[in-house]
């Protein structure tokens, strides 16, 4: 910029702070600006405000989920021990749009004539979605506490594999049973588990045929979520 760049002028200084944050100052101007910035609280505040203003350019971008691999690399580089997925459900749930996606999937399914997602006395529902948001199963709870499972497209479960449904209580997974690869199936959780059903995290993992051998999940997680009460149902929290 020309020699008339006068940082003693307050207006000029204020705009220079904007240009500094934007990154358009050349090396010499940047050095002059930073010399002043180091000693001026007002200018530091100006820079902080411009950062908030220009954050607008970032805010306009659609969020994109990075591949799971990136977090594993970070955990390994920082020496953070990776935890089993069922201990991280609370963390991972906060930012996910699972709830809305499940509602959407359910709406879509409802319009398909060959699938009746809810039994007549269905009180709450959980739609298991894979990473592509394809519904694998619809799980509905009746008011007597039984779980009706309707297979839709369990695409992630291969031959000699099965989907297994887990209830996570105090970061410990408890099996609710195996999910069918097609058709319908009924699960009957114990009385204790029925009480937790509506408030606990549920998850589905891929397990070898016959279910997880040690009673703990071994395979990759397909989805996690919670039961959503059906409007007009009598389930109470």
């Amino acid at each position: 910029m020309s020699d008339d760049w006068d940082l003693s002028d307050p207006d000029e200084r204020h705009l220079a702070a904007g240009e500094y944050v934007l990154g358009t100052l050349d090396a010499q101007q940047k050095a002059r600006f930073e010399a002043l910035l180091a000693v001026s609280h007002d200018l530091q505040n100006d820079v902080a405000r411009w950062r908030e203003h220009l954050q607008l350019f970032n805010d306009q971008l659609d969020p994109r989920l990075p591949p799971a691999e990136v977090w594993r690399r970070i955990a390994s580089a920082t020496g953070i021990a990776p935890r089993p997925w069922w201990q991280s459900l609370g963390i991972w749930r906060t930012a996910s749009g699972t709830f809305a996606a499940a509602a959407l999937a359910l709406g879509l399914l409802w319009s398909q004539s060959d699938i009746t997602p809810l039994p007549d006395d269905g009180q709450a529902v959980y739609v298991v979605l894979d990473e592509q948001r394809t519904p694998g199963w619809i799980i509905s709870a009746t008011d007597s506490g039984e779980l009706y499972v309707q297979a839709v497209q369990p695409t992630q479960v291969g031959a000699q594999q099965t989907g297994e449904l887990w209830l996570i209580a105090d970061e410990t997974p408890i099996s609710l049973g195996l999910l069918p690869s097609e058709g319908r199936h009924t699960l009957a959780p114990s009385e204790e588990l029925r009480e937790l059903l509506m408030t606990a995290d549920l998850a589905v993992s891929v397990e070898p045929e016959g279910g997880a051998p040690e009673g703990q999940p071994t395979g990759p997680i397909i989805d996690s979520g919670r039961m959503t009460p059906v409007r007009g149902g009598t389930f109470t929290f």
Binding site: G23, D62, L65, E69, V70, I74, W92
Partner: protein
């Protein structure tokens, strides 16, 4: 400047500074989709964006103690760090771009809203402040912001006189600030 003392990013960054790995995981979960989008916009390459994102979180882990909630919103702090890492990556690539082809491609892409990943659904007042900017002003501001170009580099990139570019930048900044602070 944080919205509330309970902002989970603020508390998680404070916990990161104490060496809490779960807190870093929380920050990652909350912020990484936004920071990844930012990096994709800056470096325009998925694999490079992922490498940069990894660097960002290693830096967060090492320097979370420097975050001061009274000076910046947590997303702004994280975004600033992310932008610096993304633009550093670009600068390392730039000498190899003898003819500046990537930048020309980028300029062509600026007219394509889909390529920008603009968010349609949340057209709040914030986005109106971008909308009211004359196209040239918005273009130079975004080019500078996401590419780390100086005034003279901008002038070269869009083949306009330096004085014109400077005035677009300044008017754009003034307009943006006025809209954000007074709504005009």
């Amino acid at each position: 400047m944080s919205d509330s003392p309970q902002d989970p990013l603020v508390t998680s960054l404070a916990a990161c500074a104490q060496g809490d790995g779960q807190a870093l995981e929380r920050v990652y979960r909350l912020a990484s989709p936004h920071l990844y989008a930012q990096l994709l916009r800056i470096v325009r390459n998925e694999s490079a964006a992922q490498d940069c994102l990894q660097q960002v979180f290693i830096r967060v882990w090492q320097s979370a103690g420097q975050y001061d909630a009274s000076r910046a919103k947590p997303m702004t702090w994280l975004s600033t760090l992310t932008r610096n890492i993304g633009i550093d990556w670009l600068r390392r690539q730039r000498p190899q771009e003898a003819d500046g082809q990537a930048l020309i491609d980028e300029l062509a892409g600026l007219d394509d809203p889909a390529a920008d990943g603009q968010r349609d659904q949340e057209s709040s007042q914030l986005h109106e402040c971008l909308e009211i900017l004359p196209a040239k002003q918005r273009q130079v501001l975004e080019l500078a912001f996401f590419h780390g170009l100086t005034h003279s580099e901008l002038a070269g990139a869009i083949t306009q006189p330096l004085g014109t570019v400077k005035s677009w930048v300044r008017r754009g900044l003034e307009r943006l600030k006025s809209c954000l602070t007074t709504g005009i």
